[in-house]
Symmetry: C2
Subunit: 330 residues, 2 copies
């Protein structure tokens, strides 16, 4: 598929810093929240990076903004295209709208209605396809052929990783400004691992421990690390609809090299964490956005004996608010 | 009833500043949020003071903390007592717990279950009574007689107003720090008017226009201002369960003198505003917490032609998350 023609930056902390300079005025510097009661319950200081409050409702705006910023003017004018069932689709549609260029989005018919509605609200041209990988790729190729639009992948690309990694630089600054001092660790959820990979690159040399949290029903990363190979043939089954994809090819070596450990949480733990975040932190996160916190509350995470504050990334907050929250029994 | 023995400060901006110094390390400096899309829809820059994220889930922690700070050691040791159906009760119970003194709370049986649960979780001694004013006052007098605890009123007291007014000082600072510049106006919801009154006192001499927003089903303040008298004999009927009380006696002259205008919003407008805050700002507010925003979005507010950013106070976020949100049809 046609990627951007400009050479991607190398994967270093400095290249994440360069990405941050490029996008800092275009995305929100989301709040770093704290909670006395949740910290007390966990047994250490918890900080929450509220990427659910970023533009388009997730951290995906960072990678999408940076990827599009790296296109040439000529490429940009042809528009952008992606395949995504959710937050990346909405983020790319919003970036394109603000630049007044077309965004073509290929999504499976089974994608959450609230996320498809956001794509339409941002003016994205939506093409619905069957939920199989073949159907998705065929639809994507067809749109590219017709429009000449440039492909902006959801997570599996160097520029995407660099954009997502800017989360870490902000957390570092905000922890210092807030008087929290040096972080002990940061936990990010794992789907394609663009966010986790970017954070791991940005954290190199800082001494901050980097952990991934994965739904037990989509544990390709945990199993892949154990087996020493990237796993792509699995059927995910989890409430965390943003974390269904396998770890991307570009992101895999970073996860292997720079992430201390990836651990799983069950759907029940995810739901408990999501409810607690709504109730105590008063912040609306989607199931995927609660996965890192679910791990932070677990006994197995406590055994790692992190020293210093633990930051969990609340990655997204796009839920269908016209139905009861998932923990409410019908 | 037995009030605090220390003489309350005068009602000036300086006395709010003094209250702020007394409580700043004891309550959260809640985030000042912004939203490009909500500002765009409103037609002016909107800022949101997220008091729903304060300790105990509402701004009430400010007045409760300051009121208790103004007690003598001797008074404090005897414990505190209040009557409240909601957020003030939880706030006072939390303040008392942190000081390791008893808190006695008189609440009507009909109070929201989630709010009563919070009082219990903070270790408050709960006395349930019938929902009539007589029953409440009898229960309160009885508890005072038995315990000698000091009465800390929910809104109708000078120290309460001074504590709540600290919201304004923070908003001023945060708007400056965030590069938003000088505020054009601030809107607060009106129940007993401790919050609105405190803000109006703090805003004196600043040139910031102060507005109140009241549920149409509990419009004693709007009608009272029109008739030139405080109205106390009315039957409130609104979804905004935190705004049912009449404007307090101490707060009334401040509202008359220092508030530019108080306007009503319907329950339907409140629900729309509440849903939008959850969806776009990803922040959980209760109906009362959405009332100021409901007014900010209205055509009648736009007619006031405010110049500069408009801050709305999201006053509380305590909702029962185990039932569907109120806008979801069963």
């Amino acid at each position: 598929m046609d990627g951007p023609s400009t050479a991607p930056l190398p994967l270093t902390r400095a290249s994440v810093q360069q990405a941050h300079r490029a996008i800092a005025t275009l995305v929100h510097r989301t709040p770093l929240l704290s909670s006395t009661s949740l910290s007390h319950d966990a047994g250490y200081t918890l900080l929450f990076k509220a990427e659910n409050c970023n533009k388009s409702g997730s951290f995906k705006i960072r990678g999408a903004t940076y990827s599009v910023a790296c296109l040439t003017d000529h490429e940009r004018r042809r528009g952008v295209v992606t395949q995504s069932s959710g937050n990346h689709a909405a983020a790319l549609a919003l970036v394109a709208r603000d630049l007044d260029i077309p965004a073509h989005i290929v999504s499976p018919r089974t994608a959450p209605a609230a996320k498809l509605a956001a794509v339409r609200a941002y003016g994205g041209n939506l093409t619905l396809c069957d939920p199989s990988i073949e159907s998705r790729e065929a639809a994507l190729a067809d749109v590219q052929r017709r429009t000449g639009a440039c492909y902006v992948p959801p997570s599996d690309a160097v520029n995407t990783m660099l954009g997502q990694g800017t989360v870490f630089l902000e957390v570092e600054e905000q922890a210092r400004e807030g008087g929290w001092g040096k972080l002990g660790a940061i936990i990010a959820p794992v789907g394609g691992a663009g966010l986790l990979g970017g954070i791991a690159v940005a954290a190199r040399g800082t001494g901050v421990r980097v952990f991934g949290a994965e739904p037990a029903g989509a544990d390709d990363c945990v199993r892949g690390l154990a087996e020493g190979r990237r796993i792509t043939d699995f059927k995910p089954e989890t409430i965390a609809d943003g974390l269904l994809t396998p770890v991307g090819e570009h992101n895999w070596p970073v996860v292997q090299q720079d992430v201390e450990k990836v651990m799983t949480v069950t759907d029940e733990e995810i739901l408990d964490a999501q409810r607690l975040l709504w109730q105590r932190l008063k912040t609306v996160v989607e199931p995927s956005g609660a996965v890192a916190f679910a791990l932070a509350r677990s006994a197995k995470f406590r055994e790692l004996r992190v020293e210093g504050p633990v930051c969990v990334v609340l990655s997204g907050g796009n839920v269908d608010l016209d139905v009861p929250p998932p923990w409410v029994k019908a």
